[in-house]
Amino acid sequence: MNLRRTSLIAVPYFWLGCLFLIPFLIVFKISLSDAALSIPPYTPKLELSEGWAGVRDMFSQFDFENFEFLATDDLYWKSYLSSVQIALISTFMCLLVGFPMAYGMARAPQVWQPTLMLMVILPFWTSFLIRVYSLIGILSQEGMLNQFLTWIGVISEPLTILNTNIAVYIGIVYTYLPFMILPIYATLIKLDGSLLEAAEDLGCSRTEAFWRITVPLSKAGIIAGCFLVFIPALGEFVIPSLLGGSETLMIGKVLYEEFFSNRDWPVASAVAVILLLILIVPIVLYQRNEQRLIEAEQ
């Protein structure tokens, strides 16, 4: 019995070890190394032929130089900060768009709900890259959005949207919206309608009942949705590099450039390690929220 339980628990830990911990340790090791003109492009390397002395030799050459470098060059902390800012703002915008959608879905007639749900999930059936590329077609100078706005006479000159932060926001909100809608919808659909009637009966207006009952009772869904958007948005690389301009600073982009343009693997690894440390805080908070949600349901 005990063995069975242990082996059951061992499976996810084994996965986590193979797919997260070992890769992370490798990246961490590289971040402590120095860049070099070799393959792979860093030193020291583990010389197993020298046996125990080789291992000791490698460890003695490790240092935190790359992390110190990250602190001295303001490009890095500015990118981190700007990433956090972009992720926060787009999370908030996702909430603004997603909550009313989730609310509308939960309030829609029962027969409509599976269809509405399908419509939210449908974009996932197309490749993420293709969807981002098609956004370029919509947002560019001669794109469909500008054509449409010129046609209805709102603007006379085409707007510059593509290659600005606005395009990045549009891209992130568009891509991650379902992650915001689904957990909020899941909490709203469970909301007992008689609670709102009771609130009205006790003297609340409709709006007040919404703020005092609906919002607090969907809090868990809102928090879950925000984390599900914020965490991937923070390290986002494809959207800023395809839709963003030269002034769009995001850490994912910096990471890419360090690895592939500069071929400075140690610095790139250091950037990745710091990014992970930043992400650990919201991930832990998200896990705590999920835990509470499960406990509340029991």
Binding site: D192, S194, L195, E197, A198, A199, E200, D201, L202, G203, C204, S205, E208, I213, P216, L217, K219, A296
Partner: protein, 398 residues
């Protein structure tokens, strides 16, 4: 003596009055404003109709409910009782007709502006707020000063005896305690009218019976007018000063529990409340009495109708406990029929005998079990006499 006090007593009396005895004339200061033509009703339904699509939930219904009444709406599910209550709360508006509260039409008043509170069947307690905050919820919406709110909440907690759980969340207390919180919350704003939607249906039988008396007690203490919706006839009979029996969106009979039980105005009401024998037959009028021929070879049933009936088809309605069972033909009762025991339902304190007449009709009679079961006087297949007086049953024209 406050009039409210009589409600409880009066009902108690119903349950303990000896079989066959008619309700005695009540003393002068009895609480019965519906008999006083001068009394002003708190609530007046005037030809109220409510339709949902082509379904008529409430059909041209008029009734007056008076202050301090404990008024029960009783009926099977889908009879329109909940719709009536929701119209009082303001969650539904009548399709036609008016509902007056204190002489004013309340149709345009939204639920949050009415001096009417409701206790929901599901209790609808706010799960994210403590018991204390649930009760304080309505008071806070009125922007009362903090110390006044605190005093009122504590008073309510005392009234329903849940002071100990004030800081708990609704999911940390039992069903019975949640029911009390819901009651306290709906009473906190001291509404003119309290609506109770199946308030006890989620409780088990024993707790439900205790709570019924407590509910009457609280109603008496606060002097609030209660309207209760229930499908449980025993509950309605126990708590209410008047019971309205509904079916298909119409009121069939509105009367005191005693009258509903002893003098039902229709076979439907008689059948809905308690156990009953309904015998159909042809009536011939003989002065004050009516002779009902109901089966070939059987003597006519002699009955006394409350209102004069025309000769023709009638239903004779008689409660099983008003029929005596004996092995010899009784001499002191006008009606006596002979049959044999078909079945016995042993209920502990009493037994119901199903007695089959020669023509196949089955008449139920109950008798108190004054002896232990192994020495009960009648058993299956025994020939017995059933007898009743000429005023024991009700004669209803069809």
């Amino acid at each position: 003596m406050r009039p409210g006090q009589f409600i409880g007593r009066g009902v108690f009396f119903v349950h303990h009055c000896p079989v066959g005895e008619k309700a005695k004339p009540m003393p002068q200061n009895v609480f019965a404003p519906w008999t006083d033509p001068q009394a002003k009703p708190l609530i007046r339904f005037e030809n109220v109709t409510k339709r949902f699509g082509d379904f008529t939930a409430v059909d041209d219904l008029s009734v007056d409910i008076y202050e301090r009444e404990f008024f029960a709406l009783l009926g099977p599910s889908g009879c329109g009782k909940t719709t009536m209550m929701r119209m009082l709360a303001g969650f539904e508006t009548p399709t036609s007709g008016t509902i007056m509260l204190d002489g004013k039409d309340i149709s345009p008043v939204p639920p949050n502006k009415r001096s009417v509170n409701m206790m929901f069947q599901s209790y609808a307690l706010f799960p994210h707020l403590t018991v204390y905050d649930n009760i304080a919820f309505g008071l806070k919406r009125d922007k009362l000063p903090a110390e006044q709110i605190d005093a009122r909440v504590k008073e309510m907690l005392r009234l329903v005896q849940i002071e100990r759980f004030a800081q708990r969340k609704p999911d940390q207390i039992s069903g019975g305690q949640r029911q009390r919180v819901a009651l306290a919350r709906s009473l906190a704003k001291a509404p003119k009218l309290l609506l109770l939607d199946e308030p006890l249906s989620a409780l088990d039988k024993k707790l439900r019976q205790d709570t019924q008396f407590e509910l009457m007690d609280i109603q008496e203490k606060t002097g609030t007018t209660f309207v209760i919706v229930t499908h449980d006839q025993e509950e309605a009979m126990t708590v209410a000063s008047r019971v309205a029996v509904m079916n298909f969106g119409k009121l069939i009979q509105v009367d005191t529990p005693t009258q509903i039980y002893e003098a039902p105005n229709s076979a439907y009401v008689a059948d809905f409340i308690g156990d009953v024998n309904i015998i159909e037959g042809n009536a011939t009028v003989d002065g004050e009495r009516v002779l009902i021929s109901w089966a070939e070879g059987q003597p006519d049933i002699i009955g006394t109708p409350a209102q004069p009936v025309a000769p023709g088809r009638v239903s004779f309605v008689i409660r099983p406990e008003k029929i005596a069972i004996s092995s010899e033909k009784p001499t002191d009762r006008r009606n006596a029929v002979h049959g044999k025991v078909l079945d016995i339902a042993y209920l502990g304190n009493m037994s119901t005998y199903h007695v089959e007449m020669p023509d196949g009709t089955v008449i139920k009679a109950t008798a108190a079990n004054q002896r232990r079961r192994d020495s009960l006087p009648y058993t299956w297949e025994d020939p017995v006499w059933l007898s009743w007086t000429d005023t024991a049953g009700v004669v209803l024209a069809e």
